[in-house]
Amino acid sequence: MEVNPLIIFIAAIFTSNILLTNFLGMCSFLSVSREVESSIGLGLAVFFVLTFTTAINYVIYHFILVPLQLVYLQYIIFIIIIAAFVQLIEMIIERFSPVLYYTLGIFLPLITVNCAILGVSLFMVIREYTFIQSVLFGAGSGLGWLLAILALAGIRQKIKYKFVPAGLQGAGLSLIITGIMALGFIGFSGIVIIQ
């Protein structure tokens, strides 16, 4: 696919935001967006894991699975790689950066089951990205996810002190806010087309 990798990066953050256009990673998006502080922690962890797992999965896919005609194994292999990578990162961070560990620590295990991570690896295959494109797509998607959860957390923190009708409290209002945010982001999707 002949698109400048930087365009993919920018598009992945804004116009084709993995969360707001593809609705991937909703579960932790809704549950950890109560406070700005923790949402930044989770967002950073997602960004970090996304960037690296996309790169590793690219190498595994193109240099092992394709030559051996085992492409159908991609789902299971990608998930295993993501899970192992998260475990490894958790151990390394716990050892070398206690401060970062305590910011990200409790969120890291949540990421293993964040479908945005698997989604990005699968899009990378479907859209036939090159290595550079894939890595920037992963990093951009991670930043986009961080941006989206940060925006929702900011709004929810404000709403906490406002009157909300009983029927809309909790997930109801969060989903409506997400929908309106998605409209805002998708509004510009015609500018660049990466999917």
Partner: protein, 367 residues
């Protein structure tokens, strides 16, 4: 086709095997904290293998901090003062610590992991805390919902405690609960008996521990407990003493009064016991006997809802309005309270209004 299957098996097992190996190596390299030292009160030093929680490492070394939830960070009992080496405060600890605790370096020992040498400060009395195995030698009905359990200590042979302290009974997993649970109960027997303890326990409908104790535990069975815990014990002064209890809260007060009687205390004592009706009263004869033995002791039961069949001649209503009648000099009165959190809050309010200093009010509050 066969090649495809072989390839699949090889690749999947190869990749997972490689990742597993990587994780094992990482575990050895990164998660190995080597030997760490826990320094306690600057006197005692423990050599431990790093990586586990402070609470579990102390338990392994037979130092038992109070813990009712088994280290899951939900009860907040296992607080201890950490001087150095615990790392930054964790989000899981914050709900249990107030600003003063944080400033004093108080941490939840079940949440912090020992990764380097650590220095902590715990009360000396904690060294006295052990795990005991006991035999249930007697179960007596005191009222319709309160029983007294007598536990004879089997291992280690004796228990040293201060009258007023409590132990944590450990119920094994049984039909109603798959997990072993710990619940705190005050010792009701005098601290001069070192070979046995008695507990006064009120039945809590559907309570995991009391259901076990009331319906499953039989005479002759064995049960484990840890203890003694708590700083609810008699302060050695000449002040007047006011005891206030409700429900099964008689236990620690009975222990204290028996201890005072055995040691021929001459202090002025008043014991006010709040109950609903006559059928909630128990041990009345014992306290009347103590009134004769102790030179200056008055037992005042107060009923809040006496029925006609009670034929009650004594005091009615709640306890606090009767305080002025029995408190001689509020400044020189020590108050010992035991009962539900609601009752304790009401009693503290009443005492403070009369001028009893807050630092002379001692209590155990079991929710």
């Amino acid at each position: 086709m066969i090649i495809l299957i072989v390839n699949t098996v090889l690749i999947v097992s190869g990749i997972t095997g490689f990742l597993a190996l990587l994780l094992v190596i990482a575990d050895l390299l990164f998660a190995n904290y080597g030997e760490c030292t826990i320094s306690i009160n600057g006197k005692k030093e423990l050599k431990v293998k790093g990586g586990s929680s402070l609470l579990s490492l102390l338990n392994e070394n037979k130092i038992f901090l109070a813990s009712a939830c088994g280290g899951r960070g939900t009860c907040g009992f296992c607080k201890c003062e950490v001087i150095s080496g615990a790392g930054p405060l964790l989000p899981t600890e914050k709900p249990f610590l107030n600003a003063a605790d944080i400033a004093a370096g108080i941490r939840l020992s079940c949440q912090i992991k020992v990764k380097e040498d650590i220095a902590i400060k715990i009360p000396e009395s904690i060294f006295n805390i052990r795990k005991f195995t006991a035999e249930v030698t007697d179960i007596v009905d005191l009222t319709y919902d309160i029983k007294e359990f007598t536990l004879k200590i089997i291992k280690p042979e004796v228990i040293n405690f201060k009258a007023g302290q409590y132990v944590q009974l450990q119920t094994p997993p049984y039909e109603k609960s798959r997990q072993s649970v710990n619940r705190a109960y005050s010792i009701s027997s005098s601290s001069s008996r070192e070979d046995q303890i008695q507990l006064i326990i009120r039945y809590v409908p559907d309570g995991v521990c009391t259901t076990y104790l009331f319906q499953y535990l039989k005479q002759g069975a064995q049960i484990n407990f840890t203890g003694p815990f708590g700083d609810f014990y008699i302060r050695d002064t000449d002040n007047d003493m006011l005891f206030v209890a409700g429900g099964s809260g008689k236990a620690p007060i009975k222990s204290m009064l028996e201890y005072l009687s055995e040691n021929n205390s001459t202090r002025r004592m008043v014991y006010m016991f709040g109950a609903r009706s006559r059928k909630d009263l128990y041990y009345t004869e014992l306290f009347e006997k103590l009134e004769k033995e102790l030179p200056d002791f008055t037992y005042v039961p107060v009923l809040s809802q006496p029925t006609e069949e009670c034929e009650w001649q004594g005091k009615c209503g709640y306890v606090p309005p009767f305080f002025p009648e029995y408190i001689r000099d509020p400044q020189k009165t020590e108050a010992y309270l035991c009962g539900s959190p609601g009752m304790i809050a009401a009693v503290i309010k009443g005492l403070k209004e009369l001028g009893v200093p807050e630092d002379k009010i001692y209590y155990d509050s079991f929710a």
